[in-house]
């Protein structure tokens, strides 16, 4: 089922984390939960038909922490599982081809991995990445090798596998990003190789054993330091040398995600060096917001596609998502436009045009296989979208926009809906 979705023309997926249900956060913090947050649970459980646990049962769970300390871990796990169930069903409701846990078990992408790595001291205090977004940094412990304390994402994935009705993607915060975001003394490159060998190889092998078929490594830090370019490539070559045969034997697809980089040129130049199966990049954020399927109306996509074609001419053969949905796309619309459905229609049309433009461009440049190298997703995780109804609307618009584009291009060029590359 996973592979069929992977072989589809313009398969759709999301990218990263989702906002967490307030009631679950407050419950886990042992804080009082206002009615409005419980109403949110009631609404979504009813709306998505969630029944295991049902709304009353889940609200009771949230509002009745156990008095015995011994029972707390199990209670917390049930809350996280409820959150995960909601995320997956919400994503499934949008029609995506691939779904994800929305990082339900993870407080934050860096922290979730750093906390289980010996050799990193996770600070109690946060730092700002921008605006009102913060993360807890880790600090390298001098004189301690990096090692995995315990499996990091496996419990979350195992439960998600039981719940998901659609092909499931597993996302891991990548080793270079962990390396780069960890505060450390200068010139500590061995730390990156320790992370790969002692943390990521065992984690990915565990994930494959657990049944993960579609694993992506989130590397937003890639390209931020051009002087570490060779380090990144060498590290991943070592990673693929170690796990490549196991991945192939199990038909596992491995990919990356990078966003908000000012140096995609470097990324594309290095792309043929690493045997990725797929990847995703943020592009819509830098594109014009209006309709159109020409070079002048889609300048950011043209620029990125040209680099992609260059990489393909150098032997690279991976499926790429060039983000078609900005994570702040909802902010372009008035509330009335969102409520009346005008925002969804407008987004759907812009996304359709972006996909049609990309598909045609690749068809013209790479032949009829070209469009099949595209996957469709947002720029990055949709965590900034605070209203789940809006998030659902945005992903729905993306899926419908991709469907419209698929229909247009299959009609125009006689393309098949599925093709194994």
């Amino acid at each position: 089922m996973t592979m069929a979705a992977f072989d589809r023309l313009f398969p759709t997926h999301e990218v990263g984390s989702m906002r967490k249900l307030n009631a679950t956060i407050l419950a886990l913090q042992r804080k009082p939960i206002a009615r409005v947050h419980l109403d949110e649970i009631q609404y979504w459980w009813d709306h998505l038909g969630l029944n295991n646990p049902g709304p009353d049962e889940f609200i009771h769970l949230l509002t009745h922490p156990p008095s015995s300390r011994v029972e707390i871990p199990e209670w917390e796990t049930k809350i996280l599982r409820g959150r995960l169930l909601f995320n997956i069903r919400l994503l499934e409701s949008t029609g995506l081809d691939f779904v994800y846990t929305g990082e339900a078990f993870r407080r934050e992408m860096y922290e979730h991995f750093a906390k289980d790595i010996l050799g990193i001291h996770l600070e109690d205090h946060h730092i700002r990445s921008f605006d009102d977004r913060f993360y807890r940094p880790g600090v390298r412990i001098a004189g301690r090798k990096a090692e995995r304390r315990q499996p990091i994402s496996i419990e979350e994935f195992e439960y998600a596998k039981q719940v998901a009705r659609k092909p499931l993607r597993l996302c891991l915060t990548g080793p270079y990003t962990l390396y780069d975001w960890t505060i450390k003394e200068q010139g500590r490159e061995e730390f990156f190789f320790e992370l790969i060998k002692n943390v990521y190889v065992p984690e990915v092998l565990d994930a494959i054993r657990t049944g993960a078929q579609f694993i992506s490594l989130d590397e937003p830090a890639n390209t931020t330091k051009p002087y570490e370019r060779e380090l990144y490539v060498e590290g991943y070559k070592e990673f693929f040398q170690t796990i490549g045969s196991t991945a192939r034997e199990n038909n596992v697809k491995l990919g990356f995600h990078t966003c908000y980089s000012d140096n995609y040129e470097q990324l594309f130049e290095d792309l043929p060096e690493i045997p990725w199966d797929f990847g995703s990049l943020e592009v819509a954020n830098r594109d014009l917001k209006g309709l159109g399927t020409t070079d002048t109306t889609r300048p950011a996509f043209k620029e990125t596609l040209d680099m992609m074609i260059e990489a393909y001419n150098s032997g690279c053969r991976i499926k790429l998502t060039l983000g078609v949905l900005e994570v702040h796309a909802d902010k372009q619309f008035a509330q009335d436009d969102i409520r009346a459905g005008r925002a969804e229609n407008e987004l759907r049309s812009v996304i359709r045009d972006r996909v049609v433009y990309m598909g045609e461009y690749l068809y013209n440049q790479l032949g009829e296989d070209g469009p099949y190298y595209l996957m469709i997703g947002p720029d990055c995780g949709l965590r900034p979208v605070s209203d789940f109804k809006v998030l659902q609307m945005m992903l729905h618009a993306m899926v419908d926009g991709a469907t419209d584009a698929r229909n247009i291009l299959t009609d125009r060029y006689g393309l098949q809906e599925f093709k194994q590359m």
Partner: protein, 360 residues
Amino acid sequence: MMQLLGCLTGIHPFSEGTIQAIFDYKYGRASLEPVKREFENDLTALIKLQLQLDFGLVTTGNLGWGDLFRPFAEHMEGVRPFKSVSDLPVARYPLTNTFYRQPAIEGQIASSKPFLTEKAKDPLLGETLTLHRFLPPELKNKGWSVILPGPYYFQYCATGEFSPQECIWDFADVLITEIKSLENVGFSHILLDESPLTWQQRTHQIPHPNQLFATQEALQKITRNCAARIHVHTTNGDVLWRPPGFSEAILDMLLNANIDGIGIDFFQTNITAINDYSLGQRDLIAGLVDATGYARTLTGEIVLEDPEKVAAQARQLEQLEPRTLILAPTTRLEMIPRTIADLKLKVLGESLQQLRKEEN
């Protein structure tokens, strides 16, 4: 006798209290009031710390600024109007895991009426963004300092269809208007961040010589037209770097701009190599404390710079004959937690104390 001071070189981090209050507000779990309360505590604590450490220069740490460019992106003439600030594109500060919103230029940029001291508001307290009512009155017109983007940095980070050289020139005029209004309310020290001048060596970008000449002239013009002391800070690169196609090192270019002082990151610039230079009575902001790095021991203890070693490095810089030697972190401390950032300032304070003792 050489004067010894200390200063901040960029946006200071929020405390954990403020960050937690922001989380609660952002996700609808609490009102804005606790955020305001925590923010005001942050601000007063930072100012108090700089006074305790006797830096001589005091800033608000640009607390409340979304990023260094935000008030310009919001209020300057010639930038694209927007419904919400989130309409502005997000871009990464090169070489970091931090981001800013790009000022989107769509016409000639200008500041016919100063906004930093008037229209621009701090988003939390709703007061004038400079928040100068919190600064100590005894240092008004003597030690109030503020950090602004320099013309080269601004054009580097802005987006839109524009001529970089014209943008550099026009932004210099904007800065002159704004600096004059800052002088009027009591600021006497302006730190212009021009970090891309040096970090481009590490991002493998080559600045166009014409843009460097334009920057030099723009900085000259700003210094000539403003009464405040104009310092230009660089970070994350070697100030002795000579960009390909340019006839001189970045340091020479800045010395020839006749600015009042230069800021140098001494984690990237070799102290010994720079000793051939004379600053000609300019001030030197010496980035001797790494703003982005520290370590922990196995037992969790924080490993920071040794104040004695910092003082020893500072002593080596006396050969440059600066008018004033200003000890500083290499760049904004926003990339480490507030508690550690404050400890880094204390390292600078101790080094300063030691140097002053030796001077006496």
